[in-house]
């Protein structure tokens, strides 16, 4: 392993590394966002309670939806993404839907992330005290209104660090998609390494690039998190200060 050689290789193969980074970021970002949407729906379903007033049909549907969502979550959290990728790509995504490997990668990461996000969202929902949803219901809001206006905004804020962490994990874990030939950073690195019969230097570069991506992402997320927690709506201040500032605003 020589650093000069690594630097040389980096310059020579910059376009390939850059391309790999683009694909990695594209798949991990879109997979995280779509996964979040899946997680919102699935986590929302799991937060619906079967109530004693429900009709037989209502409680049946709720139980059925709960069963489906828990199967989804258990299966996708309980098997490795590399196996999910191979299986879904060769059984469904390529032969049935005709997706190329990059789009198949987006689908796989989305579904996988969705299973984790659902649990994160559910924990976020549970972190909002039950009193607020009772208050919403006491005003006559439907469970849906209470969820969208009161509970979810707070759940998402509380769950933001965990959701951001999923993105960071995805940046690293998209590397397993090389098994279905997705041209992300690991795949590109392996391609370069194979063509020059040297492994240490290309993978050293790769490690540095992955680290930069996750490091920068973590900092950005932390910054956003701070902003979220310092908005006027949630910053606790002492009584006297508030009285003064609030009166000043009006």
């Amino acid at each position: 392993m020589s650093f000069t050689k690594a630097w040389e290789l980096f310059q020579t193969y910059l376009p390939l590394f850059a391309y790999g980074i683009r694909i990695t970021l594209f798949i991990s970002l879109s997979g995280t966002i779509i996964g979040l949407l899946i997680g919102l729906v699935v986590g929302g379903i799991r937060a619906i309670k079967v109530e004693p007033r429900d009709s037989f049909l209502q409680s049946f549907c709720k139980r059925f939806a709960h069963a489906l969502t828990s199967i989804y979550i258990e299966v996708f959290r309980g098997t490795p993404m590399i196996v999910q990728g191979m299986f879904l790509y060769h059984s469904l995504l390529k032969p049935v839907f005709g997706l190329n490997s990059v789009w198949a990668g987006v689908v796989i990461v989305s579904i996988n992330t969705g299973a984790y996000m659902a649990e994160i969202i559910r924990a976020g929902i549970q972190s909002v005290d039950i009193g607020q949803s009772e208050a919403a219901r006491s005003l006559g809001m439907t469970p849906m209104q209470s969820m969208t206006h009161i509970i979810l905004p707070q759940a998402i804020k509380n769950a933001f660090p965990a959701m951001g962490n999923e993105f960071v994990v995805n940046i690293k874990d998209t590397s397993v998609l090389n098994v279905i030939s997705v041209t992300e950073l690991y795949f590109e690195t392996a391609k370069i390494a194979g063509s020059i019969f040297r492994y240490a230097e290309p993978f050293f570069i790769s490690a540095v690039l992955y680290f930069i991506m996750t490091f920068v992402t973590t900092r950005i997320l932390r910054f956003i998190e701070k902003r979220l927690n310092h908005t006027a709506s949630s910053y606790p201040t002492s009584q006297t200060v508030v009285e003064a500032t609030v009166k000043g605003q009006l």
């Binding site: 208050a135 809001m141 009161i150 609030v246």
Partner: protein
């Protein structure tokens, strides 16, 4: 004759094996104020929560203006619009400011325009003395202020009955009065209210009649001047002497 708003007949509720309400009979007429008193665990909160269906009773009837809300024919959400509730823990929505807390119900549930909802919210915030805090977050204000906002939020829905579950129990003693005086004003204006409270002086002063609950039944009910001075039941006497001279 004054209209009966709420009539509760043989109401029963259990949590698992625990029978919390064991046949409650009681009615509330227009503009009446009733205070529910009783030891911890006697079922006061459960009774109150049954009235707006936050708990589903196991048996009996609750007639709201003559129609049985347990029959399954009524829309729970529509019923709850007419019954306001103020909680011990305030339960303000922490993701919106004081003003929005008061506007969300009228806008989402009653489909009022933003301007109408705002006008109403400002009116009631003014009434509870919280107008200056309209832009404040619930996390920035004191407990007494939170509870006054919670009352304004409930009033914005123009409820026909307002339920209070120990509205001052989470407050420091020196700020209890700022909340109680708001409730007193509402009583004077003729709002129909059911109030669970441990503030005996307040109960005596504000209510048309007082209900003493014990172990899931109404042990004694009557005018405050009678119930507090000449209770007929031994259990009422025991309870009152415990809370009045501790």
């Amino acid at each position: 004759m004054v209209e009966t708003i709420l009539e509760i007949k043989d109401l029963e509720k259990s949590f698992g094996n625990l029978k919390v309400l064991r046949g409650i009979n009681f009615s509330l007429r227009q503009s009446e104020v009733v205070c529910l008193i009783g030891a911890s665990g006697s079922g006061k909160s459960t009774l109150l929560r049954c009235v707006n269906l936050l708990e589903t009773p196991d048996g009996g009837q609750i007639l709201f203006k003559g129609s049985d809300i347990l029959s399954g024919a009524i829309d729970v959400n529509v019923h709850r619009q007419k019954i306001g509730m103020v909680f011990q823990q305030f339960n303000l929505f922490n993701n919106m400011n004081v003003l929005k807390n008061c506007m969300i119900g009228p806008m989402q549930v009653l489909k009022k325009s933003e301007a109408q909802a705002k006008e109403k919210a400002l009116h009631f915030l003014n009434k509870v003395g919280m107008l200056d805090f309209a832009k404040a977050s619930p996390l920035q204000i004191s407990g007494g202020q939170k509870q006054r906002v919670a009352i304004a939020r409930a009033l914005c829905m123009d409820p026909e009955v307002l339920l209070f579950d120990e509205p001052t129990s989470a407050l420091d003693p020196e700020i209890v009065d700022e909340v109680l005086s708001v409730i007193r004003d509402l009583a004077k204006e003729g709002l129909t209210m059911m109030i669970v409270t441990h503030e005996m002086a307040f109960a005596r002063d504000v209510s048309d009649y007082v209900v003493f609950m014990d172990q899931g039944v109404i042990c004694e009910a009557g005018k405050p001047e009678v119930l507090f001075t000449k209770p007929t039941q031994e259990r009422t006497r025991a309870f009152l002497s415990r809370v009045l001279h501790h």
